[in-house]
Symmetry: none
DNA sequence: CATGAATGAGGTTTCATTCAT
DNA sequence: GATGAATGAAACCTCATTCAT
């Protein structure tokens, strides 16, 4: 009965927006838990506590729903990245912060990892169709470039570092440890989710990245 | 590349080992392509050109078949690792070789990545049931530990490096780049599969790992 | 004979109650004819002239459907028993009527016998899960107890008759003759379904029960 | 290594006879437990610890095997009945013994009940094809007739009792109580298998039958 | 805006039975 | 006499989706 999300002009029922949002959240959880193929539209309806038909009313198909979820997910992480302002920090501190942010973001958003895995299994077929996502160019790479440049000028960092390669590497070491945690723990017979192991991991990753950029 | 068991050329049939092997290969491809949930037993039978019923005759269920494929896959990479003999090499060269091997192995075995992604999505439920796999404790970790120790004694490497953390990091940077290639390429608007990008990647990873271990 | 819910003549469809009822009837026939294991869901759908999927929509599984049929079947016989009002009749007449009712009910409801045989083969596994049925405690036993008591007070019946034992015995002699009719006829080389044999049977049973209770 | 069953002349391998016997026993258990439709040929082979193919070698099909089991079962009960020699006993005692024998035989041979139920569900289709079984005309009926006649001549029993009707009634009250025990216990909320209930049942049945024949 | 009813296609699995040795 | 390998048909059940209101 008061000011919620819905932008401005179009007086589309608040309920409509709310239903869509509810569906998106439920779908996100379902897709994250079971992947695209394993997810069940029935279960999404159940989670959202709405009629299944409504899902088809708002989103055309399961695939389109998946894309919508993906778009939402990307929008979220991009928004979070925006708030980092790495370019205003001391270069070394900025790198440290970037590793930490990435690590914690993935940690707190397991659905991000899961959804990306699903999407990659499908060769990014959904993303490729989405104009919205392709516009959301990661501003982080820009920021990172600035940081690297400043570090180099202060003779802290080595020259010639490709920000995208570095960004991917940082993402890698955070992402893989979490995404493959279960198989790794099983193979190595070691609980890689234990608090101590987690702390060591963050420290190891930070060392690794700084060891690379600084020299 | 030779040497199977069966007597001569009779058109398949009546060779249990061969049938099982054929099924496993077909299943590996199908699971790699579509994931566990997306894979179709019918399609596996088609690929293997055998009666679908035979799949259930030898492997009890789709899940058990998936586990068998996983076990095979792990056995393969472990066998390949064994042949590296890193502990007989110069420490720096050994690390370089390990990165290169991992990179190329993943590159040539996309099914490895795909299968592991599937298994992790299922919280390693299959692997956890397997006694065989838990025994295949990577001797690579042993090897890697030896390499690190020798490097440290030759004052080349820094002390206190956890071989498992290092192994995971090496795996990470290789794995993630390939596994998430499609979404990354789409997001960054850059073909990360292009030969030049691939070469740069290997070089970047090697630098990164050596930069970390060498100090 | 008359009075269903739905509005008019449109060809089935969109009437949940009706669909469920149709399925139940078709299932009853199929289960009665082939037993639980021998019954085919496909055939039930055919008999009911509805989409097979609908069976699973309303009843979760073949077993659940079987239970629903059983519950219905028990409800029917209990309802019929209620209408007898044995306790308002002369005691001897009441017993005679009970035997006759039981005999004719089984005769006209062969599915009752068949379904119970199936259920007993499964150790009453379905019934044991049903809360509904355990509540349908036969009021007939109550009625029967009243009849026996009144007969005893009028010095017609002997004392100490357990109504449940008596009820089971009455059911036995009716049920077994019909349920095992085919094997008995074959073994004895005598058509036990012939009208004359049937009439003799009812007479024999009535004599037997009265001979027992009266003395 | 010594005198077993196999008749005389034909020197058919002892193993062959033994295999067939093993299969029959395993099949009897399986059919008794699951009915004809629910029984699994694989499970019979497992129970018998022989190769499934052998079942088809000795018995042509599942149905033929079922018939063989039925024939065996009937042969067993007929043999047991032969040993009663009711016609040499006091008439009242003979009836008492017959009830007791029937009760205990069914009790100790639950497979008899189960197999007959299956066969009746199939309208005695197997029995009707078997010449062997139709020859095994129950000598018990003969015996029973003699007993009834002697009882009548001693003025103990009433006249005009049909031995087959009586036989069926005795079978009924024993059979039904055991065959439908599970549903009855569930419906009445009373453990009809409890030792005390069982003793009461035998007593009740004896009273009932004697009450009828004696007058 | 919202919903219960309905469906065709196809999923995994099971079955009795036969083939080839 | 005995057996492991193989199969076609069909079983139960599930799925994304649409119909009718």
């Amino acid at each position: 009965m008061a000011a919620t999300s819905s932008s401005a002009q179009e007086p589309r029922s608040r309920d409509a927006d709310r239903s869509q949002q509810t569906i998106l959240l439920a779908a996100r959880d379902e897709f994250a838990l079971y992947g695209l193929a394993g997810a069940r539209v029935d279960r999404i309806a159940e989670r959202a506590d709405i009629n299944k038909r409504l899902i088809y009313y708002y989103f055309k198909s399961k695939d389109d729903l998946f894309l919508a979820v993906l778009e939402n997910t990307y929008a979220d992480i991009r928004a979070a990245e925006q708030k980092l302002h790495l370019d205003e920090m001391d270069p070394v501190e900025a790198i440290r912060e970037l590793v930490s942010f990435t690590w914690h973001y993935y940690l707190e958003h397991p659905e991000f990892i899961s959804l990306l895995n699903s999407e990659n299994q499908h060769n990014a077929a959904h993303l490729k169709k989405s104009s919205r996502i392709q516009e959301m160019n990661s501003p982080l790479v820009q920021m990172l470039d600035t940081v690297l440049e400043r570090g180099r000028r202060q003779a802290l960092f080595r020259a010639g570092i490709d920000p995208i390669q570095l960004y991917i590497s940082i993402a890698s070491i955070c992402y893989f440890y979490l995404s493959n945690n279960q198989t790794l723990s099983t193979i190595f017979g070691r609980d890689l989710r234990a608090p101590k192991a987690m702390a060591q991991r963050l420290s190891h990753m930070t060392d690794m990245v700084l060891g690379y950029v600084m020299h």
